[in-house]
């Protein structure tokens, strides 16, 4: 830090850069002036100035070439050059070094010329120019040079930025006219250089549609002072082609904070946008393909299910056929011996002379045993029957009436019969004998469930199925054939007996399961009945009634 002294009130430490030494080159040929200058330069004001002397332009240029000179004090009239030429040549030799002209000529125009050409100052020798003034001039010159250098550096940095960044950077005035643009911008505009854009607007380089939108944005920015950040802009060029840019725009303020224009930075995202669009399209196509694939999969799945179901049915049918054949064979083989026994028992019954009570009882028991055996065999045959149904379009109501007729003699007086049989029901293809067999079975079960009497209700008609009708399904077969809301033909037998115990309800269709006492039923009745109904594509549902008793319902598709 230089010493502040009373002689040098102009030295303000804050204005002076702290350096070890500034080397001054004095180019002066007049010995008297040289001595004077050297005297000045010896004073404390110049404590940190090193001194070098050259007596001619050539000497001066040679010394400059060696470097290390921070400041030039230049006399314009030298032995080998004079006036402006002197200045020009020295300035050319040391373009970065501040030059203070020391001249004997008090020539304003000369002074201005040298300053225009870059001189920091023009001091007239002998005209109130003393050490103090020279010192001040030298310091200011150095400071100014430093400031100029710093500014140049900043400018260079800006230049580098503007010329190298791929982004488009521009500065516009308050009327949105270009003041400065980066290389990427003039390349976009397809012009030779930035100068061709200065003073022009977006309307000179873009289609009016985009230029108007951009202008509107910029005016808004300048009005409100609020930047627009990261906006995706669609740029339409005069030839109609479209590019996309990712843009941020800001208000341009002066030192006092007043908005004097706007500037912006913009990145070309056309490629990205196109890639994005392609991706979106690909995604849409993919989604579509996926949907199609899903549909195909669903179809495949349902085909698969259908195939599985068909396969299952086929296997069942195969099984049933072999069982059927076996059962038919067994039944036939057993029935013949039974037929012989029957004939034998009948003969004995009719022709024994005065049989005693025991003999009669024995023969009775034998006959009964035979009857049961036959029932069982028949039940077995029925259960595994694969004989084709002899189907003819029938009125279910008529079949129900005929079935009732077959068992009328079994309905005891203590049983009240209620018939609600609709007439002229839509025809259903049925094997009438088999269906009558089923219905007879159900009525007989109902009668046997009311040993003390009760009410037997027989109904037939059409109805629309409710969800409650469908839900009660032991083997989950209803769902395949019947849906809630579907119209069906029904025939049902309702009794007011003791109902079926809950724990037995699930087993009622099991072969040989019976709730009747031994000898009273083969237990094949309901199994066979269900089989027969299902062979017709119908359903048999048996459930307890809320009011007591059982409801047995046959359903047929119309």
């Amino acid at each position: 830090m230089p010493k502040q002294s009373a002689q040098n009130p102009c030295i303000r430490p804050s204005l002076v850069n702290v350096r070890a030494q500034h080397n001054v080159l004095l180019i002066e040929d007049n010995p008297g002036d040289v001595r004077l200058m050297q005297e000045y330069l010896s004073e404390p004001s110049f404590a940190y100035f090193g001194r070098v002397h050259a007596a001619s332009l050539k000497e001066g240029i040679d010394r400059l070439a060696k470097g290390g000179i921070d400041l030039l004090l230049l006399d314009l009239t030298l032995p080998d050059c004079t006036w402006l030429e002197t200045f020009a040549r020295i300035a050319a030799a040391a373009p970065q070094t501040p030059i203070i002209v020391l001249s004997g000529q008090d020539d304003e125009s000369l002074a201005m010329n040298t300053v225009h050409q870059g001189a920091q100052d023009y001091l007239v020798k002998g005209h109130a120019v003393d050490a103090r003034i020279i010192a001040r001039s030298m310091r200011y010159a150095i400071e100014r040079k430093r400031a100029e250098d710093a500014l140049a550096k900043e400018r260079d940095l800006l230049h580098t930025l503007l010329n190298n960044l791929p982004d488009r950077i521009y500065f516009k005035d308050e009327k949105s006219r270009f003041m400065r643009i980066s290389k990427a911008v003039w390349e976009q505009f397809k012009i030779a250089g930035p100068k061709e854009a200065i003073g022009k607007t977006d309307f000179d380089f873009f289609a009016p549609e985009h230029a108007s939108a951009a202008l509107k944005d910029e005016q808004e920015i300048m009005r409100t002072g609020t930047p627009i950040l990261e906006k995706i802009e669609k740029e339409i060029l005069p030839d109609g082609s479209v590019t996309w840019a990712f843009t941020s725009k800001f208000p341009l303020k002066d030192k006092r904070g007043r908005i004097v224009g706007n500037f912006g930075i913009s990145r070309d995202i056309t490629e990205q946008k196109r890639a994005e669009e392609k991706l979106q399209q690909a995604n849409t196509e993919l989604a579509l393909k996926q949907e199609q694939l899903q549909e195909a999969l669903t179809e495949l799945q349902s085909s698969h299910e259908a195939l599985k179901a068909a396969q299952f049915q086929l296997i069942q049918a195969e099984k049933m056929q072999s069982v059927g054949r076996l059962a038919a064979g067994v039944a036939h083989e057993v029935k013949n011996p039974l037929a012989i026994l029957r004939m034998g028992i009948d003969y004995l019954f009719k022709n024994l002379q005065q049989p005693d009570q025991e003999t009669t009882l024995i023969l009775s028991d034998m006959a009964e045993a035979l009857r049961r055996a036959d029932l069982i065999i028949m039940g077995l045959l029925d259960f595994s029957a694969t004989r084709a149904l002899d189907v003819v379009a029938q009125d279910v109501g008529a079949l129900v009436e005929q079935s009732l007729a077959l068992v009328r003699h079994e309905i005891r007086p203590s049983i009240k019969l209620i018939r609600e049989i609709a007439s002229k029901l839509p025809a259903v293809k049925l094997d009438q004998n088999r269906i009558k067999q089923v219905f007879v079975n159900l009525v007989e079960n109902a009668i046997h469930a009311m040993p003390e009497g009760g009410t037997l209700t027989v109904r037939a008609g059409t109805k629309q199925l409710t969800p409650q009708d469908i839900e009660h399904d032991q083997e989950r077969r209803f769902g395949e054939q019947f849906r809630a809301g579907q119209t069906v033909i029904f025939a049902e037998v309702l009794d007011t007996g003791h109902g079926i115990p809950k724990d037995k309800l699930a087993k009622i269709f099991d072969p040989f399961f019976t709730t009747k006492p031994a000898g009273k039923g083969t237990g094949l009745g309901l199994t066979v009945a269900k089989k027969i109904v299902e062979l017709h594509g119908g359903a048999l549902d048996i459930r307890n009634r809320p009011e007591g008793g059982v409801a047995a319902t046959l359903l047929f598709r119309i």
Binding site: A328, A331, H332, K335, N336, L338, A339, I340, L341, R342, M343, G344, D346, Y347, K350, N351, L370, D374, I377, M378, L381, N433, Q437
Partner: protein
């Protein structure tokens, strides 16, 4: 009263014997047994039966075929045939026998009373010579 002549064609000898015993005991019938199916036609010709009781399933022969052969003979075409079969039960057939496809069936095991009832009912009615198989 002239006894009705019955021909029973069934491979089960015990059964045919039982039938003969039972029917002849009533005094109303004269029963001829034939246990060989292939002899059925000859037996029918030889006995001029009225009617014929014919088993359906016999070894080496189908009752329906035998019935056809019998009815093919012009002397026998009006003879009623009652099929006795183990594949239909008395319950299915009912007391009067089951008419199916024009043929009359009786299901085994059959009671003597039912047998006699059926014979008496249908002895005058010729069964149409239709094969049911």
């Amino acid at each position: 009263m002239e006894k009705k002549r019955i021909l029973i064609i069934d491979d089960e000898a015990s059964f045919t014997r039982m039938v003969q015993l039972n029917l002849e005991k009533t005094g109303e019938f004269e029963v001829r047994e034939e246990n060989r199916a292939h002899n059925g036609v000859a037996a029918a010709k030889g006995s001029t039966p009225d009617p014929i009781l014919l088993d359906v399933v016999m070894p080496g022969a189908d009752g329906g075929d035998v019935a056809q052969q019998i009815h093919a003979d012009r002397h026998l075409k009006d003879v009623p045939v009652v099929f006795l079969t183990a594949t239909v039960s008395p319950r299915e057939a009912g007391a009067g026998g089951l008419q199916s496809g024009g043929a009359l069936f009786l299901g085994k095991p059959v009671s003597v009373d039912n047998l006699i009832q059926c014979i008496n009912q249908h002895v005058r009615k010729p069964a149409p010579p239709e094969s049911i198989f």
